[in-house]
């Protein structure tokens, strides 16, 4: 697979659109998913993913086969996501619940957990600084190893470990806070109903 990818990117460097299409077919779902979990906005994730692949095509000449192609593509996507996050402090978002689930990538679907919990997690993730959000999403959503993440974000492995740990801690704290709020809200509703 890795050899094939190297051959494909070499062809893209020569301007081969077919090879570019093959690379896109291999990575488009993963990149859209990654960008969705980073930005929390599906439309934006799709736009950024398109921009990512355009850059893959136009900057293919800059790719050096010292690391896997996936790391390079994720690096481009991460940089774009970071720039976009800096530019716009999140305008409108499209919730996961609003997205019709009729994508061709059926294998790329897993049973959702508690929707309320997902929403809380989504909000907690959005509040996380991109410095921590990127490694956390790459690790816990995309399943990259710490070494791969270090290569993607161009930081030492130690820094990546620290950021993942700190990001998870922050996420946990935010989730606990949100859950406490939910419990308090439910309790007050129950007591109000009890009074009525």
């Amino acid at each position: 697979m890795s050899m094939d990818e190297q051959e494909l990117i070499r062809r893209v460097q020569d301007g081969d659109e077919w090879a570019f299409g093959r690379i896109m077919a291999l990575y488009k779902d993963r990149i859209v998913n990654y960008l969705y979990h980073f930005s929390g906005d599906y439309q934006k994730a799709v736009e950024l993913a398109q921009e990512t692949f355009l850059r893959v095509y136009f900057k293919a000449g800059k790719y050096r086969p010292i690391g896997p192609l996936s790391s390079w593509i994720y690096t481009i996507a991460s940089n774009l996501a970071k720039t976009d996050a800096r530019r716009s402090r999140r305008a409108a978002t499209v919730s996961l619940e609003d997205i019709p689930n009729d994508f061709a990538s059926g294998a790329y679907y897993e049973d959702p957990v508690d929707p309320g919990l997902v929403r809380n997690l989504r909000e907690a993730l959005d509040e996380l600084h991109p410095r921590y959000r990127i490694p956390v999403v790459l690790k816990d959503v995309e399943g990259f190893s710490q070494e791969e993440i270090a290569r993607i974000i161009d930081r030492p492995v130690g820094t990546v470990k620290a950021r993942i740990s700190r990001g998870r801690d922050q996420l946990k704290r935010k989730l606990e806070k949100a859950l406490e709020g939910r419990v308090t809200q439910v309790d007050s509703e129950v007591s109000e109903h009890g009074r009525a």
Binding site: E17, G21, M24, A25, K28, D29, I31, V32, N33, Y36, H37, Y42, A45, V46, A49, Q50, F53, L54, Y57, F58, L96, I99, F103, A104, S105, Y108, Y109, E110, D111, P112, V113, L117, V118, L121, A124, L125, V136, V137, K139, D140, V141, G143, R168, L171, K172, K174, L175
Partner: protein, 141 residues
């Protein structure tokens, strides 16, 4: 339950069905835009070079012709010379000097001597001393 445990179980989304077409469409657009930008850059470069050349020619000719501009030093010098000519007609100046041989005289100016002469303080005498790391015994004052 830890947040990151749930993250892995969160619903995964994929690219929309027309993703490839949209990317290829944008690719063609981007190529066209790049070609257009390249052409604009080429024209801009050629235009600025032409403008620079034109400006150089205009200003160069202007400076060559002394007094072409009313504000120029050449103009003022020419006027001053004309006034001088009317006061003190000289065989070496004016239209009658055109046929005569002309010898330019260059006078060097010694500003250092002028400064020394105008200095109100006592003249400084510099004693030059030989400085050597090797031998000091041979120095005679």
């Amino acid at each position: 339950m830890e947040g990151h445990d749930i993250l892995g179980k969160m619903r995964k989304v994929g690219a929309p069905p027309d993703f490839d077409q949209r990317v290829f469409y944008r690719l063609r657009e981007a190529r066209r835009e790049r070609a257009r930008r390249r052409a604009v850059a080429r024209y801009a470069l050629a235009g600025s070079a032409a403008l620079f050349l034109a400006a150089f020619l205009i200003f160069d000719r202007g400076f060559m012709r002394q007094g072409a501009f009313p504000w120029s030093a050449g103009k003022r010098a020419a006027e001053a010379e004309q006034k001088l000519e009317t006061k003190d007609p000289s065989p070496w100046r004016g239209p009658e000097a055109a046929g005569r041989p002309f010898v330019p005289v260059l006078e060097t100016l010694d500003y250092a001597a002028d400064v020394r002469r105008d200095s109100p303080g006592p003249r400084t005498v510099y004693i030059l001393e030989q400085v050597s790391d090797v031998r000091t015994s041979g120095i005679i004052y």
